[in-house]
Symmetry: C2
Subunit: 364 residues, 2 copies
């Protein structure tokens, strides 16, 4: 053993001393949070939730900025999320409705965003998540919106058309795909690959390069793909870690997604608008006029005012008014002058404009 | 607003200052943990896991003892669990096999015990959890053992008979039962109640007192009971919060379990023995001689040496040697003299004795 290293008992004493300080500071923080709640109650006696999405985002932004390691900034930010969650629950635990069942990516997103001191409740459908929040039975809701292998994206967007709820935050989860086979399956024998069609699309280039000739079969979910392969010795599945473990499949290749920063995105919905956090996004729905160049006329003010679009989706109409609908996410907060300007300009260029809210970009 | 209260900006500054200190201390702790790993590697270059169950239990015991609030001791202990989990993952993330699927109580137990920085993998059966740990594919396993509504208790005990694995820890989760009905169901119309038989047993006195005449029907799980009631207007189900939310049932009565400290218990299994934490339990399996007074002769040395039994289970034999088997949990660690004494005495009084290990009692 090197002479420079301290002994284990010495190190444990050091750690114990650090723990005493961390412990005292966490309780100090909780006392401050209690006073914050008192102040807010004095200002508004009817207040029921002390959660401020923009403030939480700022705290996490600061954590990421000042982190020196050895722990990763993301790891420390997750710990702070849990500390804030615990302090907040001291006043009134947040009730969160999410698209269930338990154990799904949406559940993971809810816990990632609100921490484990929140009360999370699985709902059977996306509509129910919206209804719970609208009825006040839950403070906030969590729904999948982008790049999901569960095929529910469009349904979430449709819900926004008919709802008065706001987007108050977003959560990103990194998703990895693997090529899975049953134990004993030979590479050369693989003649087909199963997966959800979205996952097949996400790994298209990799499949083109490595398995150009095998049949690609879209099934209802990646878990279903894994289940099928379990009993077939000439097939492979594309699915995540969990499915591989659940069905005892072998990972022939890991992280085969074409875009390595492949994430699934979730939205947090609530009833109130969120003040700026300093690094925000805004989401809107617009119904275009039924004329040539409609989309160009919508996008032009963003370009002219230097606002970056982060996403645009087109949806068929559900009613006459919404005959032709775009969902647009862009950088910036509705309280910023150039955002106000663009929103004002858009009003004159479209049939309908619905502002879904400004909210902090996902920090971790 | 009261004049004594600080303003929100003042409070946020205070919290930010506290956060800077917490952040620095957490990284200091992580550096100490890295040095601990270095010291251990210097002593044993083949070491792969730096997790010490007795040390973690001691840290949490200290947290509970010194806690002054306002946060509950259990809440702070959970935060420390996550901090330890993050520090440990810096060296080598723990791989944990548990009885899946994701989202079950066993999954919750695994996360409660190892924190969210551990890699948890669902297994389809209890045997597979044992096999993963025996094969070294997982560092530890988590299996349900007591009072579970999933009916798998006996199977876990049977696995221990044929395995060389040790118990290295236990986890307790508090379980609450509710009487659930579909929206619109009238109290006076209820003629039957569904639940898993273990849950029916856990609420027997309450049912006797409040619904002595209704039919009690045991089904495969509490979730299944909730699903059935969803479509029946004269029935009720006994189930937990999650099932109520998932199927949109109304809680007619909450917390109806006869024993309000109703918990489900899980065991952590591993390959190594655990040194004393200061507050430990020991579990053994004994095969009694086939004679009158056999159980009395087994229990007498515990009584005489002042060792409290915390649980005893009888199982039918699987082989000739194990013709008649008791699973016994008692307080104390096998390194304590009076425990050694009792174990030695037992050897002479039984046909076979298998020591499953000493481990820290659940702290939170």
């Amino acid at each position: 053993m090197s002479e420079k290293l301290p002994t284990l008992p010495e190190l444990r004493q050091q750690i114990d001393a650090i723990d005493v300080q961390i412990h005292e500071l966490i309780n100090q923080r909780a006392r401050c949070a209690q006073t914050v709640a008192e102040v807010k109650k004095a200002e508004d006696p009817t207040i029921t939730s002390f959660y401020r999405p923009e403030r939480e985002a700022q705290v996490l932004q600061m954590v990421m900025q000042r982190n020196q390691g050895p722990l990763a900034g993301e790891t420390v930010a997750k710990l702070f999320r849990e500390i804030m969650s615990a302090c907040l629950a001291l006043e009134s635990p947040l009730k969160i409705a999410f698209l269930g069942p338990n154990g799904t990516f949406t559940h993971a997103a809810a816990l990632k965003h609100f921490g484990h001191a929140a009360i999370t409740r699985p709902m059977a459908t996306i509509d129910e998540v919206f209804r719970e929040v609208e009825a006040g039975s839950a403070h906030y809701g969590v729904v999948p919106v982008e790049n999901s292998s569960e095929g529910v994206v469009n349904h979430t967007l449709d819900c926004f058309i008919n709802s008065g709820l706001k987007i108050i935050g977003e959560v990103e989860l990194r998703i990895h795909h693997n090529l899975l086979v049953a134990e004993g399956t030979q590479l050369k024998n693989i003649s087909r690959v199963y997966s959800h069609q979205q996952s097949l699309a996400q790994c298209r280039k990799w499949l083109d390069a490595h398995f150009p000739k095998i049949e690609r079969i879209a099934v209802s979910s990646n878990a279903e793909a894994a289940r099928l392969v379990k009993g077939e010795w000439h097939s492979a599945a594309i699915a995540g870690e969990t499915a591989a473990e659940l069905y005892g499949l072998k990972k022939l290749h890991e992280n085969i997604e074409d875009n390595p920063s492949n994430t699934t995105r979730f939205l947090i919905i609530g009833t109130e608008s969120t003040p700026p956090s300093g690094d925000d996004k805004t989401s809107i729905i617009v119904a275009a006029h039924n004329e040539a160049g409609a989309l160009y006329r919508i996008l032009e003010p963003f370009y002219r005012n230097g606002l970056s679009l982060t996403r645009i989706e087109t949806r068929p109409s559900q009613s006459d008014i919404w005959s032709y609908v775009f969902f647009i996410d862009f950088e910036g907060h509705q309280q910023q002058p150039q955002v106000k300007l663009v929103l004002d300009e858009l009003h004159d260029r479209v049939r309908e404009l619905k502002n879904l809210g400004s909210y902090p970009k996902a920090v971790i």
